[in-house]
Symmetry: C3
Subunit: 414 residues, 3 copies
């Protein structure tokens, strides 16, 4: 990395970091007002936790010299990064991806998870789950070592699996073990609408995330040339097609009050789905991937509701279903020349990757949440949930009242 390519990757880092703000806006916009503040704080706290653990050992696990293709083992505490082939630029770039994988979960768990429980989940995610998967798929990027999934022929350009489905699987386990928000489903299991704090702010967040994808996928070329532009174009086309299809499907086939969520979630699902293959499909294939992703999103969204799984911001349909679908699209839509295997065999390899990641994420998350449930607990109290989550419960002090007319007159010397 040098010269203009280096600058391009540095910018991509800024754009991907900004996705933290995009997630914040999206999640804050979609939860109820009572939980908005703490939801925002989580998106800053988890980034902080991720940043520190990434330095101490997680980057080493993910991108250090490989121990048999299963886990990295150098770069701990930042040792040896300066002057390595990736340098601090690659460390920063990969940190931003790790932060995305972690933050995805905050929306799924929103409005009932305990704050410390969430922080611990984030820490374990970045310390163990994410580095494992990242190492298997991208672990040779710096060291040049061959890691097992990549060596088998598994391809994931910018992280449909590594970033999005990792966040998605953890989210799925979390919402299942947490249970739905109080009152989310009525006695018959029918979902009851919950007022969102600020849907336009969520829309703003979608556009921030969309721009973030310019860096997420465009930066993953590691080259600031026309191939980056082509990747961005295809990313953008998939998001556009997916949003429009999800909107049309929600509007006409199943007209419902979640049409805004389906449109926004649909667009994001297209962006997730193209992420694995944006460097190896044609623009027309990108449109097709997006269009299908829009339907994948809507059916997944409905499926969760039928299963009484409560995902306040729709993280699972977007990141898990979009991520898995996108991973398979490598084999389905990728140009033959870019695939290490024949198309059919490639599909098998991609499926093996999906399953391996699923098992890893589900097993670790399930074990972790089980331990947390028996110790500090998973959920806040029903009272706190009903009144709104905070960073710190305190006895109420009434806010100061506005001044009375008499006081104002006195102050004005009248």
């Amino acid at each position: 990395l040098n010269g203009s390519n280096q600058v391009w990757v540095l910018i991509a880092c800024a754009l991907i970091f900004f996705m933290q703000a995009g997630f914040l806006a999206l999640e804050v916009g979609l939860v109820r007002s009572r939980s908005a503040t703490v939801t925002a704080m989580k998106c800053i706290v988890d980034w902080s936790v991720v940043s520190i653990i990434w330095l101490v050992f997680a980057y080493g696990f993910a991108f250090g010299d490989s121990a048999g293709g299963w886990l990295g083992g150098s770069f701990f505490g930042g040792d040896g990064i300066e002057g390595s082939s990736g340098g601090w630029t690659m460390f920063l770039f990969q940190l931003c991806f790790a932060g995305t994988a972690v933050t995805i979960v905050s929306g799924a768990m929103a409005e009932r998870v305990g704050f410390h429980t969430y922080v611990i989940c984030s820490a374990v995610n970045v310390a163990l789950i994410y580095p494992l998967v990242a190492h298997w798929v991208w672990g040779g990027a710096v060291s040049g070592d061959e890691t097992w999934l990549y060596g088998m022929g598994f391809r994931d350009f910018a992280g449909s699996t590594v970033v999005h489905s990792v966040g998605g699987w953890i989210s799925l386990v979390a919402i299942w073990m947490l249970g739905p928000r109080l009152g989310r489903f009525d006695a018959d299991g029918k979902p009851r609408p919950m007022d969102a704090f600020n849907v336009p702010l969520a829309g703003f967040g979608v556009l921030v995330l969309w721009m973030g994808w310019f860096g997420f996928n465009g930066g993953s070329t590691l080259q600031g040339n026309d191939s980056a532009a082509a990747v961005i174009i295809k990313t953008n086309l998939a998001g556009a097609a997916s949003g429009l299809v999800a909107w049309a499907h929600a509007r006409w086939s199943t007209p419902d009050r979640d049409v805004e969520m389906k449109f926004m979630g649909g667009a994001l699902t297209g962006l997730v789905a193209i992420t694995a293959s944006a460097n190896m499909v044609s623009p027309m294939s990108a449109l097709a991937i997006g269009a299908i992703a829009g339907l994948v999103h809507n059916y997944a969204f409905e499926l969760l509701l039928k299963l009484r799984l409560d995902d306040p911001v729709g993280a699972v349909p977007v990141h898990l279903f979009g991520g898995v679908f996108g991973t398979l699209c490598v084999a389905l839509f990728g140009k033959s020349s870019a695939l290490p295997k024949g198309r059919f065999e490639q599909l098998g390899v991609q499926a093996i990757g999906v399953v391996a990641v699923a098992v890893t994420c589900v097993a670790i998350t399930y074990g972790l949440l089980l331990v947390l449930k028996k110790t500090i607990g998973l959920r806040v109290s029903p009272r706190e949930e009903n009144e709104g989550l905070t960073l710190c419960r305190l006895p109420d002090v009434p806010a100061q009242p506005a001044l009375s007319e008499a006081e104002i007159r006195r102050l004005m010397g009248g």
Copy 2:
């Protein structure tokens, strides 16, 4: 385009794309809360529509090989872009400009236009109106062919005419044909204030747009060198001067409750006005252009109210009046060496361009809206307008109530 220039243009694309989010924040902040969500959604939907049409044929119309200087005719479906002189980078860069021109209209039509009507307008805008104008002025950028307005000597550096006045003319026709929001004017034609959803968010949007202009004008140099910095400086000075003049004018000569709108709109008008000439004026001229633009904005704002034209976010004063004024400033303030004609003749040529674009935009938009009025209609029902626009009308389902104290006690096992 290569090396660091290429990276600079790629970044400019991200900044210009982010203007979609800026428009969203600005518009959402200025409409009433009841219409905020659907206004936000429009800014995402129209980008999606634009992205797809741009690939299929609109980029080809605008930047393909010219048919006699009037319309382009290659690059359809993305064919031949890879490896062309502009490559995907130019495709992306120009897509971001097209998206801006289209989104401008969403604010003008806000709070009463039907959702499908708006989407169709956006599609026709990007499919026909914008490519026509873009071809006439910038059409030779990739093919090298001479197009008629450019060939005549018309100059518009970064789009005062091509982007802003196109959006402005369409907005003007739209607000005239749509009519004002219910209750916007009283029986005597006096405007009645309508509560904005979130003016601070609109202010945030102004700064996002302002930053977007760093890419919009700075990127239009296509060179990541000191000339880009000079263009950004002049752009910034015009915005600064324009905002301050508009604020001072609104504050002292006609003190009124729209002073925030005049300040924000004034600043944006200066940014629009400098766009045509930012590469060919001095910093002092940029200040002058901005200062005048502030007054242009305020008088235009008042003029619309007198004509009972209801422009909820002030799109017409900013983009139409600012765009036309800026186009003329090329002749009035541009350095002689940068003008293809003598100053006086140049003014005539710029005026011809203004008129040609006006006729084109007004004629097509008028025809389109007339057809839509007789078919699917232009406006939502008075009931929907009064209650707030949505993406999908549904019978009301009451939101779930907060839990009662009794329920909480039961859940807490008490």
Copy 3:
């Protein structure tokens, strides 16, 4: 500056400019809703004022040829910038820093300062205070002349002193002379909580500012290479550590309702503190600087309350205490090879710089506010403060009511 380094600095300019929007979101989120709009407007107005004064003479004062190391004296009105060693790129880059120093004060003064008073303070800040300090420390950057503080060995990489403590000292004097908001402290001097307009929006602002620091510190290397990435990493680590420490401290040692403010302010304090030394400390030192900064913030926050100094957005703990602490960290944590003096002597030099800047900022601000107090006044009237500040006081016109059911039926022809 050329090629990819130039592009990197241009991007840094955009990121730092965007911090204006970050401040806007942070401040708007933390003030009461009644003051939110005018607080937002100030962040745009002051940028406008700064932009113009910077061109006319402030850049010349700060970066022109030095008159004895005390004040610059060229580049007035932009003269001679084109083709100078810094060019317009350096002008723009430094403008963005100046804008940051000025905007910091807007939050401290919020909710009671008169609008014109604030604008005049901003103008004097950018016209005199900031250029003085910038010249003393960075004045040789373009001219190569040696200025007195830099010549003595004082080092401030990206502005812990030049930007942040300048804004901080002015803020401190301002909140002392302005006095607290009405009702902020009860008769016993105990602070009474005031409802924030939108804490999640403040959180969004924190992340925007955080991204801005990628450009603020990363851009200050003036090189788009791996050293920029290393600087960003260390900046990020300090912010992360500081936020977490401030949160933990607020949560457990003094659990209180300001825990969100302490977390957000803590993170920002770490970012401020690392700014002086991000190019000369190790990642582990960055963590240490951040961790200490978190405590510095919380104790400073409490100290202000004890002194009945009302700082609505916490500008003084963040920018003044963080800035001073960070300036000293140059000597405490900087690599010996990067320090012009021995560690102990360096600490003395850094302290001299802190004191010199303190005296300058306090004296000028005190004098200015004294004059303003005796002339146009510092505060709005108690009535305006109680009802909320605006850009322009007007007799109330009631907003139009929603349409009645009868009117709707009539309009629908029923």
